[in-house]
Symmetry: C2
Subunit: 143 residues, 2 copies
């Protein structure tokens, strides 16, 4: 049963998000992207709705799905990576398409205990590590 | 009608949050605090549940209320301050009690377009400004 609206044909991922990430999955509301930065397990959820920049502008049903999908992403990452803390954030000061960061944090990561943004230059995944990480995430989502 | 559990008697605001903020309101699920930093209109919502550190660990009903209260806070701040962007984040790397930042951002604020954390030392409100801001927020919440 799909109780959300279908993905609008006019939804298009913002080119900056497309450039910075690898698509991992598509859920009821959100597209699930992996940030191409091996410093942290870092997902970005993008509600597939055109022209929405703010969390509080989502329709109630989409917001409920997005919240459930944040939980789904957080739980999967927690199982997979056993982080010290999950960080969840909708900032979007620079990219004007609503997107939600879901990041697994560790006491020995490159930014701890500070937020990740601006802390260290992104470290792109090598091809094998990227394939392994995407496969692991898909497995965790399915589990 | 109150469909959430009553506030547990063992809920106690973390001392660091108590030190950094001024209480503005108490909602169904969250305590609504104003960060004592005049650089940004900055609320912190704290679900009044003991021993919860992660958003995804809230019970489903509490998560639904918390989400609705994030929307309520965001809408009120948008009406009141007309920011360029709202920033919403649950980080909690340093304070081990779940709290959600809801921050109104402006193109001329002290950190724009970067996140606010660590960007500039906090600027405590003067007494008159603090009273005015708390009153304005209470008015916006009531409106």
């Amino acid at each position: 049963m799909n109780i959300t609206a279908p993905v609008p044909e006019d939804f298009e991922l913002h080119p900056q998000l497309a450039a910075d990430t690898i698509e991992v999955d598509r859920w009821e509301c959100c597209r699930v992207l992996l940030m191409n930065d091996a410093s942290y397990p870092w997902l970005i959820l993008v509600p597939q709705r055109a022209d929405v920049r703010e969390l509080h502008k989502l329709f109630a049903g989409d917001l409920a799905f997005t919240t459930a999908e944040i939980v789904r992403a957080s739980e999967a990452m927690e199982r997979l990576f056993q982080p010290v803390k999950m960080n969840v954030a909708a900032l979007g000061n620079q990219v004007p398409q609503l997107h939600i960061h879901v990041i697994a944090r560790f006491a020995d990561d490159a930014a701890w205990p500070n937020p990740v943004w601006g802390a260290a230059p992104a470290v792109p995944y090598g091809a094998d590590d990227l394939a392994a990480r995407v496969a692991a995430l898909r497995g965790a989502f399915a589990g």
